[in-house]
């Protein structure tokens, strides 16, 4: 509820009473106290709880009665304890007592005067939160990528089982959810937080304390997920269909606690992003002068905010089925598998747009800079985002064509799924129109646009097949689907995000990204990606199901090729990461606007000062004032003159 702003003319505003030092007990609270709080409360909960569990009795799944409740309580206690330890509850308690933040409190919480410690604390400055999200995304990608290498090893070693089925199934499930979370946060987190407020000319986001809260909730959500591998694994894919999930070992509770927490984090972040964009744009930044990246972030935040509770409840009710034996998804008791599938996919589909839309917005934004051209048809881009947000709400059943839950639902949802390609196509039109006749400055961020559009083309055609119910009768549940979504989420999503991060790297870190080494890594990964997943399409077309660790010999060759490609992807990504780390540490210091961009974010100093702008800017035009008059207009004038002469003077 407070805005962390330093207005240089010190306002003569009566301050509330300063309770303690500025910042209060947040002087002592940081991630380490958070860990102590989380682990401490979890241990206490486990100790107390295990006295209450009637050990010695087993239920039908051969699990200790009450064990599910105990582990769920322990993992939840970790989350709550961590949030207590890091000082998240200070805000609500102070609010309740009326001990509002003073100016100094707010500055302290924004990290003033704390040097590098601010990254380890509940810091509200959007730039700090953006960096924290970036590191978290890198960690999650490293984790998910490592699992991917293991998965491909199993699939490449076709002559025996490298891992036992339980571990392999857990690998694919954990890989999936870790990557999904990483992709959701990779653009909206670092760039939506760090860059977007700069781009709209604001000093911070609308709710700075909620900003910190959303990051640390994400931080708290990750250990339960990672712990699942020690607790038996989540061996039911990232979708965890019920009632299969109820048979899983207790590691499944780690998944559920993670998602429930992550949903809160995402919802809060969504509230923050939307309110910031709607209410805090600089003077003069009317809606038709808003940079397109901001629009993309807004569209994704709206979808995430509205639909995430569906996913959250699917996991709450699934945990309830496990712990207290309710029958939401257990057919013997009246539950329905279709209920789970519907709740899941109601988020599951908009979620892929939550991943792809911010990347698209970011690339649309940076294209104009590297082509020195205005964005082609800004209005079509808006229409594209709006159309995708709207229609994405009514396509989810295309993930359920084969479930038999409503055979006639195939017709209307096939229609809506085809229709959504039209607004999506508007975005491609804007990209092509911007590229048209542009002189390409071939730096890595721009080249990432090419990578992204190519992958979108392939993902698009293959999506057309899958959207057709009859064709889905062959393709659903096969490796074809896996290759399709990797082309969309990783090919278009991740490679695009990498380009966006390279673009904003100078502003966020103050150094230029080493594009020589970075490009080697990028293109190695990109071409290896084509190898891996084109080969996977072949496996799918041949009839290989997904989520299998052993398969017919007919699929061996495709899998060997995919595995070799995957190792090369890993190598490429490591090279890229190496470039990122060395650039961060020893890269060439960046000027404040190395790309010559016209958006407000590049008009700040580097490093960006705490208050972002000494004086808040006033905007008089959109940020696409690049380009020179079209030379072909002269040709048209000559033609017109010729025409007029033949027609007769008027």
């Amino acid at each position: 509820m407070s805005l962390t702003a330093v207005i240089h003319e010190q306002p003569a505003v009566p301050q509330p009473r300063q309770h303690g030092k500025p910042g209060g007990f947040l002087h002592r609270a940081n991630v380490f106290t958070g860990l102590i709080g989380g682990i401490g409360l979890a241990v206490i909960t486990y100790a107390v709880g295990s006295k209450l569990v009637p050990w010695g009795t087993q239920d039908a799944d051969f699990q200790q009665v009450g064990l599910n409740a105990l582990i769920f309580a322990t993992l939840s206690a970790w989350v709550i304890g961590f949030m207590i330890g890091i000082g998240a509850f200070a805000g609500p308690i102070r609010w309740m007592l009326g001990h509002d933040l003073t100016h100094e409190d707010a500055e302290y919480m924004a990290g003033k005067g704390q040097g590098h410690m601010k990254y380890w604390k509940y810091t509200t400055d959007h730039k700090v939160v953006g960096m924290q999200y970036l590191i978290m995304a890198l960690v999650l990608f490293a984790l998910g990528g490592f699992f991917a290498m293991l998965i491909r090893t199993e699939l490449g070693v076709t002559w025996k089982e490298v891992f036992d089925p339980n571990f392999y199934n857990s690998l694919i499930g954990t890989h999936g959810i870790v990557m999904i979370i990483a992709m959701i946060i990779v653009v909206a987190g670092p760039l939506g937080n760090f860059i977007m407020p700069l781009m709209i000319g604001a000093r911070d986001m609308a709710f700075p304390r909620l900003n910190a809260l959303s990051f640390w909730l994400l931080f708290a959500a990750v250990p339960p997920l990672a712990a699942n591998l020690l607790l038996g694994g989540i061996r039911d894919g990232w979708t965890v269909y019920q009632p299969l999930g109820t048979q899983a070992p207790i590691g499944m509770l780690g998944y559920q606690v993670c998602i429930i927490t992550f949903a809160f984090s995402t919802g809060i972040a969504g509230v923050n992003l939307i309110t910031t964009i709607v209410t805090m744009r600089a003077r003069g930044m009317t809606w038709n002068r808003v940079p397109i990246f901001v629009i993309g972030t807004l569209a994704a935040a709206i979808m995430g905010l509205v639909w995430f509770p569906m996913f959250q409840y699917s996991q709450i009710l699934a945990a309830s089925d496990r712990i207290i034996d309710t029958s939401f998804f257990i057919p013997q008791g009246g539950g329905s598998v279709w209920l789970y599938e519907n709740l899941f996919w109601l988020l599951g589909h908009p979620e892929v747009y939550v991943i792809v839309i911010p990347v698209t917005g970011a690339l649309l934004e940076l294209m104009t800079v590297f082509l020195r051209k205005p964005l082609f048809s800004y209005k079509m881009a808006i229409a594209g985002f709006a159309g995708v947000v709207g229609i994405s709400a009514v396509v989810w059943v295309h993930h359920m064509y084969m479930t038999g839950f409503a055979p006639s639902a195939g017709y209307p949802f096939m229609l809506s799924t085809e229709l959504i390609s039209i607004p999506f196509g508007f975005l491609v039109l804007v990209m092509l129109g911007t590229i048209w006749r542009g002189k390409v400055w071939t730096r890595l961020p721009m080249m990432a646009v090419y990578a992204m559009i190519w992958c979108k083309i392939v993902g698009g055609i293959t999506g057309v097949y899958l959207s057709d119910v009859p064709v889905d009768q062959y393709m659903h549940g096969s490796m074809f689907v896996v290759a399709h979504f990797h082309f969309m989420l990783m090919g278009a999503g991740l490679f695009g995000a990498m380009g966006a991060i390279v673009y904003w790297f100078p502003k966020m870190t103050g150094r230029m990204f080493d594009e020589r080494i970075g490009s080697i890594g990028f293109w190695t990964a990109f071409f290896a990606f084509q190898l891996t997943f084109m080969s996977m399409f072949v496996a799918g077309l041949q009839g290989m199901p997904r989520r299998v660790l052993q398969f017919d010999n007919a699929f061996n060759i495709s899998n060997w090729v995919s595995t070799i490609g995957a190792y090369l992807i890993g190598a490429g990504m490591l090279i890229f990461l190496y470039a990122m780390i060395t650039s961060w540490r020893h890269g060439k210091p960046a000027t404040s606007n190395p790309w010559g961009a016209k958006t407000l974010d590049w008009q700040t100093q580097t490093p960006v000062p705490l208050e972002n702008f000494p004086i808040l800017p006033v905007v008089t035009s959109d940020p696409y004032g690049y380009g020179v008059p079209d030379p072909y207009l002269k040709v048209e004038e000559e033609l017109a003159r010729d025409d007029n002469e033949t027609v007769g003077a008027r």
């Binding site: 013997q332 051209k373 508007f426 057709d468 380009g627």
Partner: protein
């Protein structure tokens, strides 16, 4: 107002200084970059045809198509690839040409030269929206009609089957469980089998359920797929029209040994089917 016979009557009164549309079109087509992009576009469209063939070829590698449903599916994949080609080709041609023909710039500093400030182009927008909408409409209509067709193939009610001596469908109860398939022939003496043996050119009607978790019943080369849900019975059908042994796989992760939940479908002649039935202890009652 001009009374010149060359001027159409609905031209605006105030003369504009834009040349006539046909002139503009001709001029635009004569620009070198437009010609080259169109050339690349044509080449890419041609290239898509063998790719479409290749895609279908991969689907047929294990012996299919073995039913009219699968034939429909393959036809659709082929057609969809071909009709999507123009849009994909124009996108790719613009991307390719942009790296070749409009002047690339390298270097550390932002480029000095700037590009033409084209903020919009009505014709391009209209053309693109029309083309994508047309494509989407085609895909939808084809898809809807095709869905109706294969639904009728599945349930044996196409006009071709509605003959006085139309073959009655054989009911098969399919039960999925962790981690095997069981087939029961209720009308053929209630025999059970773990391999699906069926006679050629006879409609099959499947009742599918599960005893535990969600599985998916996939007869690969016949293009049949439906979830096996616990607590519900789902239905589908097909008429196999090719002799041979084909694959049934589980296409929904169902636990530890999901990868091994496979069996075979054997499409045999009527006589072979009858003798198989007798061996199993049942008999043909329809």
């Amino acid at each position: 107002m001009s009374i010149d016979s060359q001027t159409p009557i609905d031209e605006p009164e105030v003369p504009t200084n834009r040349p006539e549309p046909t002139h503009r079109m001709k001029e635009w087509l004569s620009r070198p970059y437009v010609r080259r992009i169109l050339l690349i576009f044509v080449i890419l469209n041609i290239v898509i045809v063998p790719i479409a063939w290749l895609v279908v070829h991969f689907m047929e590698l294990s012996g299919g198509p073995a039913s009219s449903i699968m034939v429909e599916l393959e036809k659709t994949v082929f057609v969809f690839t071909i009709v999507s080609a123009p849009l994909m080709a124009i996108t790719a041609s613009i991307l390719i040409y942009s790296l070749l023909g409009w002047g690339r710039v390298t270097g550390e500093e932002p480029p000095m030269q700037e590009s033409p400030a084209i903020r919009t182009n009505g014709i391009a927008v209209v053309a693109w929206v029309s083309a994508t909408s047309l494509l989407a409409t085609f895909l939808v209509i084809w898809g809807l009609m095709e869905l109706a067709t294969i639904t009728s193939y599945a349930y044996g009610s196409t006009p071709a089957n509605q003959q006085p001596n139309a073959t009655k469908a054989i009911d098969v109860n399919v039960t999925g469980q962790q981690w095997l398939w069981t087939f029961e022939y209720p009308d053929q003496g209630k025999i059970e089998s773990d391999v699906l043996v069926v006679p050629i050119n006879t409609p099959l009607y499947f009742n599918v359920t599960s005893k535990d978790v969600v599985h998916n019943f996939w007869i690969v080369e016949l293009g049949v797929k439906i979830d096996a849900n616990p607590g519900a019975i789902t239905n589908t059908g097909v008429t196999p029209d090719k002799l041979g042994t084909f694959n049934i796989r589980c296409a929904e992760l169902c636990g530890l040994h999901h990868a091994y939940m496979e069996t075979k479908i054997e499409v045999v002649t009527q006589d072979q089917f009858d003798s198989w039935l007798r061996e199993q202890g049942g008999k043909r009652t329809i």
